[in-house]
Symmetry: C2
Subunit: 804 residues, 2 copies
Amino acid sequence: MTVTSPVHPAAADPRSTVSLAAVDLWWRAANYLSVGQIYLLDDPLLERPLARDDVKPRLLGHWGTTPALNFVWAHLNKLIVERETNVIYIAGPGHGGPGVVASAWLDGTYSELFPRITRDGAGMKKLFRQFSFPGGIPSHAAPETPGSINEGGELGYSLVHAYGAVLDNPSLVAACVVGDGEAETATLAASWHLNKFLDPASDGAVLPILNLNGYKIANPTLLARIPEEELLALFTGYGYSARIVAGGFDGEDPAAVHERFAAALAEATDEIEAIQHAAREGGETARPAWPMLILKTPKGWTGPKVVDGLPVENTWRSHQVPLSGVRDNPEHLAQLEEWLRSYRPEELFDADGRPVAGLDAVRPTGTLRMSDNPHANGGLLRRALDLPPLEPRAVPMGERRGAEEVEPTRVLGRWLRDLMAANPHDFRLFGPDEVESNRLGDVYEVTGKQWQGEVLPTDLHLDREGRVIEVLSENLAQGLLEGYLLTGRHGLFTSYEAFIHVVDSMFNQYAKWLESAAKVDWRRPVSSFTYLLSSHVWRQDHNGFSHQDPGFLDHVVNKQASIVRIYLPPDANSLLVTAEHCFATRDLVNVIVAGKHPTGALLSLEEARTHGARGASVWEWAGTERVGEEPEVVVACAGDVPTVEAVAAVQILREQIPDLGVRFVNVVDLMRLQDASEHPHGLDEASFDALFTRDKPVVFAFHGYPSLIHRLTYRRANHANIHVRGFKEMGTTTTPFDMLMLNDLDRFRLVMDVIRRVPRLSTAYAGLSQRMDDERAAHRAYTREHGEDMPDVTGFPVLGTMAG
Amino acid sequence: MTVTSPVHPAAADPRSTVSLAAVDLWWRAANYLSVGQIYLLDDPLLERPLARDDVKPRLLGHWGTTPALNFVWAHLNKLIVERETNVIYIAGPGHGGPGVVASAWLDGTYSELFPRITRDGAGMKKLFRQFSFPGGIPSHAAPETPGSINEGGELGYSLVHAYGAVLDNPSLVAACVVGDGEAETATLAASWHLNKFLDPASDGAVLPILNLNGYKIANPTLLARIPEEELLALFTGYGYSARIVAGGFDGEDPAAVHERFAAALAEATDEIEAIQHAAREGGETARPAWPMLILKTPKGWTGPKVVDGLPVENTWRSHQVPLSGVRDNPEHLAQLEEWLRSYRPEELFDADGRPVAGLDAVRPTGTLRMSDNPHANGGLLRRALDLPPLEPRAVPMGERRGAEEVEPTRVLGRWLRDLMAANPHDFRLFGPDEVESNRLGDVYEVTGKQWQGEVLPTDLHLDREGRVIEVLSENLAQGLLEGYLLTGRHGLFTSYEAFIHVVDSMFNQYAKWLESAAKVDWRRPVSSFTYLLSSHVWRQDHNGFSHQDPGFLDHVVNKQASIVRIYLPPDANSLLVTAEHCFATRDLVNVIVAGKHPTGALLSLEEARTHGARGASVWEWAGTERVGEEPEVVVACAGDVPTVEAVAAVQILREQIPDLGVRFVNVVDLMRLQDASEHPHGLDEASFDALFTRDKPVVFAFHGYPSLIHRLTYRRANHANIHVRGFKEMGTTTTPFDMLMLNDLDRFRLVMDVIRRVPRLSTAYAGLSQRMDDERAAHRAYTREHGEDMPDVTGFPVLGTMAG
């Protein structure tokens, strides 16, 4: 098969200096080192016949995808040496961990970062042993892997990471090897369209290299089993200029494949350079067809062809460990030795196990080494954000608390506008078409929505260089921000609360990345990943049950306490303070839940700062406790809507039971509820008890599922007295207040809860409790009749809503 | 613009009888009814000038997508009347709720299912009022919507539902309108490739109709802003034969668009019939290029062109409610009336508000009505599975418990093989390339993997009609099974435990569907959705931290207790019993977590049946309590690996503290732990206390995150004494036993826990506790040295592992 090569201006590259022999040398060395990692405990240089005990007792790793990863790496090295191109390498088939580690060791980075693993025979032995070994390194590309920003765990995120990485990095090329298994995943299938956002002038380039090795774990892949015309049409349709390089089948000499791939890679690079030149120097504004490569090679290429009479190379059987019985089956052992020797290690390493000088011809230097590229250790490049003052955007308190009604996220949008103006090159906002809906549209005063598609006169804010990316895929928004952060920048992901579950698993994987990266000393801290979840459960009354789900918080709390933070700012100023805090943090995942609907300003900016710093505190103005006396009951709340209900409930109590001492506690930093031993933000016992008492009933109005509060307060002395109201999966299309009533989180129910929980009230105020229930019934009837809430009930303050 | 029409044998359809005038009549009527639902409380037939109070106080709904949904529906009606084609309608832009409801009312189904909503003016008024009204119906397509199997909440699942629906339904056509917003989602982008699985002989057909109306909430869509050649290349690449019909722009007369679309739809239908004929009669085996249509129309077509001086039709401004100030702005009110009258209601409805007779020409009858198609209310068609006996596949107990080591999922695979043989037409297995890895490969004795791509001689089990579908996308596997179940069939989704989080949000949406559907009396029960999660957290030691996550269980528990079930069968026979149970249930989501690695058979089939029926019970043989005496401590467990550790721990206790009375409790049905008032499977107080005591310490070894056990047992008398060990997010690439030690779930730690929790032991047996800790250290050192677990420690029974 031959290179399918479109007409191209620079078919021959005059700058070429690296021989394909050197490329092949690198490839063989990397393959040798990969097999060694999977199999060998000892005798790394095969100085004696391979013996049973030289082989690991548990054979773990994935050979199948590795030779192609090594092949591409070797060719990219050639490119870098020849052109000094600034390249990061993203291994989509992250299962090929041994490959990327092998090249990092070959180019010297590995020994620099892990001095124990020297670049010689002794180091090689340790390199082999540590792979997939207890106390060693994972079998997949991971935070421990130099040059990696893409975990090889859950598949599908390589291409979106590549696009995120090159945004605002005009000199960077992200070479992204996409596996054909991975290409079946939903996120990967959508990611190809990201070329419609990339600006050839101000962003870098992504070079996707789809490796069609034909198989997954036990099945052929879809893209490997469609005709070539269909495959090319697909990528033409995705907007790429695609080239197919196929080879290595039926024993074809790799030299021929090297030649074809080198030519294709040079052409693709020429195209990238031409596109960028045209946009940057020539004023070209049309969306280009970026190049991509399709490399069709046998799975497990250069590995055993037949094992136990069954074909292995070029089948799914080469996916993991092609020879599985090495320690017990002498034939397998012999095959392994033969396989290793087929790479001619004596030509690759000197007597001391050092890579031979011939490899230097294809070995980039310094940070041009893909393993050492600082973009793949983004903390090295990160600068702190210039955070503009909050004061100009803060909401004045008005005559009295709650009188000034504002949309909190709109207030945040004003400040984000300032932030984006002050940081025009390394802060971005990502959303699934919800930036405007979530009231952050003011940012368009200073930037636009990045877009290279066709633009019509009626369009607003579309911009080739815009710093907002909106695409109707939470997966893409999440992945872009991950790639952007891991390369040293900052950003925010805003989404509807219910649908953020679409990225539950991506959150998991990213959280695990952060958890592992924290243990890797050469990884520098990156900016935190911050979610702004608006259009939340309590204001999705109009969109109905499918849009009502606050469970992302529960999901987040399962990850290690060291990296997760949850904030429920009760009003606009608290939201400002929270956002300012989050954007200054590093290596965390921050989740902010905040409403977009008008709600009263409860705290001045100064108060919000104090409250935010405390994370949870008593609001004297909202409670009715008397100085020097223990309260009889605590009304606590977390979340903007529950806070309004809690304030309203205490208002009613103040009027109806004037002698009741109610403490009012608001929690903005949810992790304050956990014990200090369990979470870095956790309150110590004394502080918690000072807020919530050790023995008084607590009625807690919570934004999410009630069980989360129980989970967080489980170790607290007063836990048994904490009675939580929250979302209990009762939803429909109705009004905001009806949603609260459906879930027993409304003010009237909270009053009833207080009466029931305070022993002296339960009988004495049975009448009040009944009136509260009648209120609920009246509200429900009104809503059913009029299709809207009774006036005054959704606002704040809420005085005057009582019937009598 | 004109129809882009490939050469085709049957360009003119001789069977045509329905006039396009009738189609237009239906379209106008549906549009009128859609606008009425969004806006009107009263005066449904505009018998008087529209007044402020005729309009709803809260305007909720989505107009933008609706006219195109109605347009397609009208044309499909023509097709059905002409050809008696068996069609279900899937509205991807589920926001177009008013449209699908309108047509269901027009065709009569609505009044049959909801007799209150008569097919006349009085019913029309109620129809209008109930839409997005408290106590009424949701604004999106939902379980309440006749003919719907696709919730219009979270976008992206229409096409995969369509493919799931037509599997094994050779006569069915799923007409699936895909929105161009939805088309940006990850799942939708991947779903196009599902045509590589569909068998033209034994499956039905999907007719995707991509509606390019150009806009999302506030942005243009990607696919609307690429050149037509690119768009056609994309769908050619996806394997379709695509036609573009564009029209309605710049005031083009709809009559012309009707003509073009009718022709394209007839051609597409001809193509489907030709493909099916060739496969069914002609023995054609090549994968066909199925037709698809691209309908390019203005968003909000036929709605207000300009509002307040800004363009609305054909922009994002028509997404929701084009006229938002109707009650307060007389100009908006006048525009609304003009808009409604533009459909000429006097031609659509008679004086009593009944649809005019002219509509009957384009109104299919009986179950040919898309609203009444039984495939969209699959419970009507469902038959119970023929469940083969478990006995032939049950594992004999061997000499003593635990001696017989088997892979539980392999045992299940044997029985699944029987099940699939006994039910060859309505049971399917879906997986993301993990069926073989999860040890279910025996099913290939009786069926194959469905596949229409190229087949090579080395391939195994690929089959055009196979009943297993493997595609490396959890989203696709989930969506296919949803579509398959909702159309009345049965199936199983098997996946790795960690990566099932990829479908968290799809699970949410499906669970919410079931929760809502249960309240719709005309919806008949469908088979439960059953997950088999294997390759679970405790045996992903080799794949590392990214593969270790048991949090799906926490996620599931957030949904309503009425529909979620979680099973943790401790051994192979328990797994058989659990699976048999799950496949007989309806309207539930069953989650089964079971290992694939060799583990001892603990229960005979008979015992497993008894234990399964109880859900949680005392294992006398494993404990050391004496008859008639209260135990001193309870050792409880849930999950296969924790069960082995718990049994081993009690073995050690038996030897080392012979006089200690340990009760051993295993939980297979996790929801038994909840209170009977909270979950239908919950144990009542007495039963729970009889198992776990009211006051003895409980050491609970759990498969997942410990907090889940606390959450479920929160109301129990003995809750404060329950001490849970489980996954605490400590993971890496290591050995199975080291994973347990990292998370303090190993047998030695459990012994230490018992010593610490039982007051009389804590001092007296401090030495034993120390020895346990020394054991842990020795194991850890051995693992680090040898790269594998110490012999005997991973097996069962575990006698003899103690140092002294």
